[in-house]
Symmetry: C2
Subunit: 338 residues, 2 copies
């Protein structure tokens, strides 16, 4: 199985992406990747790979692209750009089925616009949504969407997100009839923003065969494990996801600080290290890196812009597993079966 | 200093509010409170106070109210309701200056509608916003608003929130020129929901004397300590606040679980208890209970609906301190001095 990588996307540039891909390939010996970007830059990165990853090099191919998409490029510009950016070429090779999936850590907006153009949507869907799974109290997980691909979403789009999220929970986690809720400021039907109340009316109007609509849920409900899917506009979901990551990071630092506070706690800390390490592991946003673009006809994964090599490796592994699972095709057939 | 308490608000009812007020008064020997609600219910609760709190009873007065506001009552209904609910009477006594502040753990919408009617707004402001301070990495704090008093906010309202939040950081934390940012899905000017981009244009148009507008910030920026105030619509702020609380609660439980995992970690856990307890303390959403209603002419505090006696006690203490600081008056004069 082969994947196309926009090696120039992401805040840390090709150093993080190239090493990240190599790390993922070191764990997946049957897979390979095509790195898109200026060949002199990427060849230099490949030469600089840590010794322990050099054996993956034969499975890492470079495909030259002259230019890159910048965070500040507007969607309208992107569509008129020459097809020589690393992102354009990465998605075009997926469109031509030369690879099974594409991944980028660059601008979400650019990825979305170009993915819609080259890859296209599954039947009946208007726009892709970004989703990730958050861990819940009982040890399960809950899909949150949209995470920022769409702002100013219409009620109709929120309804589509509900279908897409439910399909994800069914296909990936095997939940027979996922419980789907709308994120709101309160649980009473009279509360909330206009579009949220309108979406509630539509989702309540008919019972769905493929999922159970459970009404409104507040922000805490996501982690409580009461529902399998939480739907909101990208403006809200993005703020929730990024603030949760920021909070987890801050708490991790504070916990460490607490355990460096004086000699006695330092000794205890040494002994407690295995338990603390496991906890840090659970807190680690890197492990949850890689968000799925739902609704597209093929597998496209967005890595966090700030991901380091380890984070990018997780996102690459996710892209391979979604492509192996044939997630877009299974989502599409599930969506037809409402 | 005396406070009016809607003793019937909150999910746990008068048991939590009465004990919470008594607990706060046990720490503040010069203060007193008036409890609004059905007198037979409240008298019974006072009789059932824990022994250690009974000495506060002489400073706890009951003011009979026949009925209560229910979470499902619509704002239009509230304004037509007889003025015999505990919330109506609580706010009316603040309006008549019989007390220095009012507090309720009931419906945010009801509190907002009735507070606007009876207490009124500071000059030049349209609607109150709810704000609370979140802790930041460096040990400081950042004010987040609005937390759910307003949904579908106009750009103009977001600009007013910026002024209100800046005034809060100046008055409460003594920040000379607070850094104020708009919460958004990205930091580029072309990104985000329509109202957020419009508010950005307005806030960027002129430099403000009393605060520095720093542009867009993403969700994680709130905890990073880069800004003093983060402004967003109530739909977003409410989701961020409640999901942060949910996440902190989940992480606290998981940490505990990690330390109960096997005999060796149990022994370590026993020794690590002081550090863990301090950490749990920092995580504890209860300690941050009580959100300020900014923009009202007098002090009104909203306690979390789910707060227990300890949580309600924190909110009561906050109400006393805001009234002592003459926060609404100082905010109003600060707002005139833009």
């Amino acid at each position: 199985m082969r994947i196309a990588v926009d090696a120039m996307g992401g805040d840390l540039g090709p150093r993080a992406t190239v090493e990240g891909v190599a790390h993922a390939l070191s764990l997946l010996p049957a897979n390979s990747a095509v790195l898109h970007g200026p060949s002199h830059v990427l060849d230099a990165q490949l030469d600089a790979l840590p010794k322990s990853l050099r054996f993956t090099r034969s499975r890492l191919q470079v495909s030259h692209a002259d230019t890159v998409v910048h965070e500040a490029d507007r969607p309208s510009q992107l569509l008129r750009m020459p097809e020589e950016t690393s992102l354009h070429r990465c998605l075009m090779s997926l469109a031509r089925d030369e690879v099974s999936a594409a991944i980028s850590g660059g601008s979400t907006g650019a990825l979305m616009v170009l993915a819609r153009r080259y890859i296209g949507m599954s039947a009946g869907l208007e726009r892709p949504a970004i989703s990730c799974a958050v861990p819940t109290e009982g040890g399960g997980r809950c899909y949150l969407l949209d995470l920022g691909a769409n702002v100013d979403s219409s009620p109709e789009m929120l309804v589509q997100f509900a279908h897409m999220g439910a399909a994800m929970a069914s296909v990936v986690d095997g939940v027979a009839r996922p419980r789907v809720a709308l994120l709101n400021v309160g649980v009473e039907p009279s509360k909330g923003a206009h579009r949220v109340r309108q979406a509630h009316v539509r989702l309540s109007a008919v019972p769905y065969r493929s999922f159970e609509y459970t009404g409104f849920v507040e922000g805490g409900g996501m982690f409580a494990g009461d529902v399998d899917v939480v739907v909101c506009d990208g403006d809200v979901g993005n703020a929730v996801l990024k603030s949760s990551e920021g909070l987890a990071r801050m708490l991790g630092k504070r916990l460490q600080h607490r355990f460096e506070d004086g000699i006695w706690t330092r000794i205890v800390s040494f002994m407690a290290r295995p338990a603390l390490t496991r906890f840090h592991h659970e807190l680690d946003p890197v492990r949850y890196n890689g968000a799925s673009f739902l609704g597209l006809a093929k597998t496209v994964v967005k890595s966090h812009g700030s991901a380091d090599a380890r984070g990018f490796s997780f996102a690459v592994q996710r892209a391979f597993s979604e492509a192996e699972e044939r997630l877009p095709q299974r989502l599409a057939s599930r969506l037809l079966d409402v």
